[in-house]
């Protein structure tokens, strides 16, 4: 059973515009959420995280929003740049556990 879902396999956005990547989860025991970015032949690189006690966390061009009632989080990238083209993974960790549960990923393409 897929506890973390990224329903959009791919997303294409024009350079300079906002990219919005979405993630849904089913386990209400998740209390820490992360976004990773992955280039081909490299490991995932940590981007930004959010604890369940918050509903927003911002770091430069990246903002993560958490809606606990909807069990939904999103990553906003603004403005989008060509170097943002990569696969983005949403991940979640259950309270008291250490392992991360990942979504299937969304391939983001930024068009010039």
């Amino acid at each position: 059973d897929q506890q973390v879902k990224q329903n959009s396999p791919s997303l294409s956005v024009q350079e300079g515009r906002i990219s919005i990547l979405n993630c849904d989860y089913t386990n209400s025991m998740f209390d820490y959420f992360l976004w990773y970015k992955k280039y081909p032949a490299e490991g995932p690189t940590f981007l930004i995280s959010i604890s369940s006690i918050k509903d927003k966390n911002e770091d430069g061009r990246f903002t993560v929003f958490l809606n606990k009632s909807a069990k939904h989080l999103s990553l906003h990238i603004v403005p989008s740049q060509p170097g943002d083209s990569a696969v983005y993974f949403c991940a979640a960790r259950r309270k008291g556990a250490q392992k991360l549960v990942f979504g299937q990923g969304t391939r983001l393409t930024i068009n010039p």
Binding site: G43, P44, F46, F89, A97, Q98, L100, F102
Partner: protein, 114 residues
């Protein structure tokens, strides 16, 4: 280097052979994780160490998979009698402690079983 280092980057083995994959975590990181990533999927948890103690091995798919971290630093993931379904990228990650700290990943070992 300052990041997580994995070796080899690529490994090709014949079905039935044993393989060993190595992970050097970031210096001082207490926690170490192994994940398996199939093509087109997200990473899936295999096992977790806190220092030398293996605290969670619930994700290991069979008893052919074995991991160790004898001195609380370098870790080895061993797969015995490999099968074609073991073909995947094996990722290692480390983090400083048990708090809300992100896991930092290595570039992985791509394992191909012929």
């Amino acid at each position: 280097g300052a990041g997580v280092s994995q070796s080899p980057r690529y490994k090709v083995a014949k079905r039935g052979q044993d393989v060993a994959l190595r992970c050097d975590p970031i210096s001082g990181h207490v926690s170490l994780f192994w994940y398996q990533q199939a093509l087109g999927q997200g990473p899936e948890f295999l096992t977790y160490f806190q220092n030398e103690a293996q605290l969670d091995k619930s994700g290991l798919p069979s008893d052919r998979f074995f991991a160790e971290r004898p001195e609380g630093s370098v870790s080895t993931l061993k797969i015995q009698r490999t099968q074609q379904e073991d073909s995947a990228v094996y990722l290692c990650a480390s983090s400083p402690d048990r708090g809300n700290q992100p896991q930092h990943f290595g570039d992985g070992t791509r394992l191909s079983i012929l």
